[in-house]
Symmetry: C2
Subunit: 146 residues, 2 copies
Amino acid sequence: MPRVMPDDPLNELPGYALRRAANAMMAELTARLVPLDLRISDASVLMLIAERTDMTSSDIGKVLDIQRANMVPLLNRLEAAGLIARKPIDRKSQAVVLTPEGRERLADTRAIVTCFEDDLMARIPDEHRPHFLPALRALVGQPVDP
Amino acid sequence: MPRVMPDDPLNELPGYALRRAANAMMAELTARLVPLDLRISDASVLMLIAERTDMTSSDIGKVLDIQRANMVPLLNRLEAAGLIARKPIDRKSQAVVLTPEGRERLADTRAIVTCFEDDLMARIPDEHRPHFLPALRALVGQPVDP
DNA sequence: TATTGTTATACTCTATAACTATA
DNA sequence: TATAGTTATAGAGTATAACAATA
């Protein structure tokens, strides 16, 4: 993680600054989640299934942009940790649900994430702050094609 | 029966939106650099050493936030591709310099990167655009500590 | 036919520890 | 002593192909 940033001529490039900012912030969040023994993707899944019921593994992957195949080890870890359970919807699909222990861990997760988000926004000067999320959402909204 | 796919409730979180935006944009840039047979890190190195003379491998790593150890295969690839050469500074350090072929590839790289950056900024609505780079730089400037 | 869950695999990026040769 | 370059390695994240069972 960058503690100091030497003067970098590439810093005028928004795309480069975007990458650096995201890397720095995600490293920071990753570190803050270590005490909960959760990765960022784990936390995302817990927070998502808490607000959307009857989400299957495929559903979660579509929303969070995680490949179906990569959901398997992720959910297996959360299940092994006792945080989620699989509840059959039909003979093909399973809903991913929080266990009581998962709900407790979610509360801690939310506290950490909220604090992280607040700290992140606090680092942005007042006049730029309200424009940050709208700008990011404009980027994710549609792909940039040549 | 198809279940409905709700919007992502995590999109209200700036940190999450930052991660999604960076992932999407970096995937886009990666794809655009494929014709040049360069990765984003490769392009960054070429652009950096073009503006800073006598950069050692360690210097480049410090500026671009790449571990010393990870610079080795990166520079080896660029050298094998004939784009850079190593020029001894003393018996311990080597400057990384562009070859003539490297300078040609750099020109193509700059064209692609400039187009990419323009397209990226164009996706952001006018009223938010001037705030984007300053916000990002505020995030990279100092670490967010609890 | 299309989708779900899964296995296997591979490639990239990143992080750390340790070694050597030299400053 | 500290730094430059390197080797080896391991952990993540990500991507694709393929398969069986079911919708």
